[in-house]
């Protein structure tokens, strides 16, 4: 494997993804990420000079909707997704700015 993922990197990626990994999982993730990056490197071997980066597979552009209200009050259903609700709102852990 050409790409070696350091402990710091896996720690950092874990923080970004809000994942707590066990030591075992960390080792496995390091290997997985390394082989993924190896694969990406393979793509890097191609000459892509002059090729526009592509973000969509199909040549579809300009999909719009008109500015018309189509949704009504669906709070009851939406709140079914809340782990807990109070006063018509989603309850989350206390959060400060």
């Amino acid at each position: 494997m050409a790409n070696i993922i350091t402990d710091e990197t896996i720690e950092y990626v874990g923080i970004l993804a809000k994942l707590e990994l066990s030591e075992e999982e960390k080792e496995q993730a390091k290997k997985d990420m390394g082989s993924m990056l190896d694969y990406i490197d393979k793509l890097g071997e191609l000459d892509t000079a002059g090729v526009e980066p592509m973000s969509h597979v199909f040549p579809v552009n300009n999909v719009f909707r008109e500015d018309v209200v189509t949704n009504g009050d669906d709070r009851e259903n939406i709140l079914k997704n809340a782990p807990e609700e109070k006063d018509g709102m989603f309850v989350v852990p206390r959060t400060f700015d």
Binding site: R75, G88, M89, F90, V91
Partner: protein, 476 residues
């Protein structure tokens, strides 16, 4: 010699667009609905839901870009900005990083040293987050997603401003332009226009920028001016005492008049932007841009020139009236209904401004219709009501937008034009006030004022003071 410092300021301005629906779903953007009643799977980030761009958002963003002399990006895309926060249900915000819709613009502002251009780095479209409410009783927070997905544009300036005055002038300019376009009401107090201030100081003549801080939570022009002064001093004090400015985000507390650090660069977030695969690219044709261009309104500068040519009103009046879109709308509509421009202007400049100030309101909050203002002016023109009654009616109009014709009718405020009745009243007043009559005849001109007042009182204010004056002089 004491060191001289220069302040360098750049602004990030968020503007909530005046669309009826959210940026990516058909939920209403109406303000003040009960919590979560304007939500759906898209704006609450449910898996599998798909966003579709509101065309009006694109049109507003392009219109603002054209009005601020930007290059429009003809191939633009949306990107995901990844971060975790409870008000952000998708765990990413849909925004634009790589190909923002507008770039390289500039607007002209007036400064004490003359005209100056402020560069606009870019304008991008994005979605607003939900609102967090902190529960006072239990150890939790509550989320209302009504605001989640409300369309925003973020206007990022170049670091071209050097003082609080320039910042205010730039913000006024943006606000006016966007209001004239009808793209937003730009009310800072209500959060439909929000500004973050990036500020650094450097010694006068220095080539490099100093380390900057970003200040948030500024919700009035006054707070912005105070925060800029406060931050400038804080940074200079640090440098003077040999310390360093730390690059960080600070929160301004306008009550205390000071800021405190929110987060520093060390734990700055890594947003891992990438193109949003759920939203297809936007390709803007020349025809589309021409259409938007053709729809651009008459902006303030053009309006000021035209008013000067067309209407006989003072420059100062023109400046105040064109200073808010809402005022120009009322002015123009009332004039179109046949009211004399000078009279419309007088009502706006006099009673309207007085009542706005008294009630701590902004010109945008004016509720009376131009139709009713034109009717009121017609009532005074025809001498159906006198000046003081007109002011009384206007106060009612200002409060409740009453129809002045109906109001005058219902309250019986019409001027009594029956000369016989008026003559009889004047005769009574003369008979009952011999002292004043004698004073007047002995050359005390002022005494007539008292007699006019007594007559008006007897007529319950519903007489034409000019007529009262004439009859009094005749009988005396």
């Amino acid at each position: 010699m004491e060191k001289q410092y220069e302040t360098v300021i750049g602004l990030e301005v968020h503007v909530e667009l005046a669309t009826k629906t959210k940026i990516f779903c058909g939920c209403s953007t109406a303000f003040g609905g009960a919590p979560n009643t304007h939500t759906c799977p898209v704006c609450t980030g449910m898996p599998g839901s798909l966003p579709v761009l509101n065309k009006q958002v694109l049109e507003y963003a392009v219109a603002v870009g054209l009005a601020t002399n930007c290059d429009i990006t003809k191939y633009c895309k949306f990107d995901r900005k990844n971060y975790f926060y409870p008000d952000n249900p998708q765990n990413y915000q849909i925004s634009q990083l790589y190909l923002p819709v507008c770039r390289n613009g500039k607007v002209e502002i007036e400064t004490e040293a003359g005209k100056k251009f402020i560069g606009i780095h870019e304008i991008h479209m994005e979605e607003d987050a939900g609102k967090l409410v902190h529960d006072e009783w239990e150890d939790c927070s509550l989320v209302d997603f009504n605001r989640s997905g409300v369309p925003l544009i973020e206007i990022v300036s170049e670091p071209d401003m050097r003082s609080a005055k320039e910042v205010i002038a730039y913000l006024e300019k943006l606000r006016m332009t966007i209001q004239y376009l009808g793209a937003s009401d730009c009310k800072m107090q209500e959060g439909s226009m929000r500004a973050d201030v990036n500020l650094s100081v450097r010694e006068v003549g220095a080539k490099e920028f100093g380390t900057r801080t970003e200040m948030k939570n500024l919700n009035s022009f006054k707070a912005i001016a105070r925060a800029i002064e406060g931050e400038r001093e804080r940074q200079i004090d640090l440098l003077e005492s040999g310390e360093k400015v730390i690059q960080e985000t600070r929160r301004w507390d306008d009550n205390k008049g000071e800021s405190y650090a929110m987060r520093s660069k060390e734990d700055a977030q890594d947003y891992r932007y990438f193109p949003d695969p759920d939203l297809v690219p936007i390709v803007l044709s020349d025809e589309f841009l021409d259409e938007i261009r053709a729809k651009q309104p008459e902006f303030r500068e053009e309006k000021m020139v035209r008013y000067k040519e067309e209407f006989d009103i003072p420059d100062y009046d023109i400046e105040i009236i064109t200073g808010t879109k809402h005022m120009t709308d009322i002015f123009e509509a009332a004039v179109a209904l046949g009211a004399q421009p000078k009279k419309v202007s007088n009502w706006l400049m006099g009673e309207t401004l007085r009542l706005l100030k008294e009630n701590d309101m902004e010109p945008e909050d004016i509720r009376f219709s131009p139709e009713n203002l034109a009717k009121l002016i017609a009532l005074t023109d025809s001498k159906s009501i006198n000046g003081s009654v007109a002011k009384e009616v206007f106060e009612e109009m200002f409060k409740n937008d009453v129809d002045p014709e109906k109001y005058v009718e219902e309250k019986g405020l019409k001027t009594v034009n029956d000369e016989g009745a008026l003559r009889r009243t004047v005769e009574d007043v003369i008979a009952n006030n011999p002292q004043s009559v004698e004073d007047y005849r002995n050359g005390k001109e002022k005494a007539i004022g008292f007699l006019v007042g007594q007559t008006m009182k007897a007529m319950k204010g519903k007489a034409d003071p000019g007529m009262v004056n004439r009859i009094l002089k005749e009988l005396l």
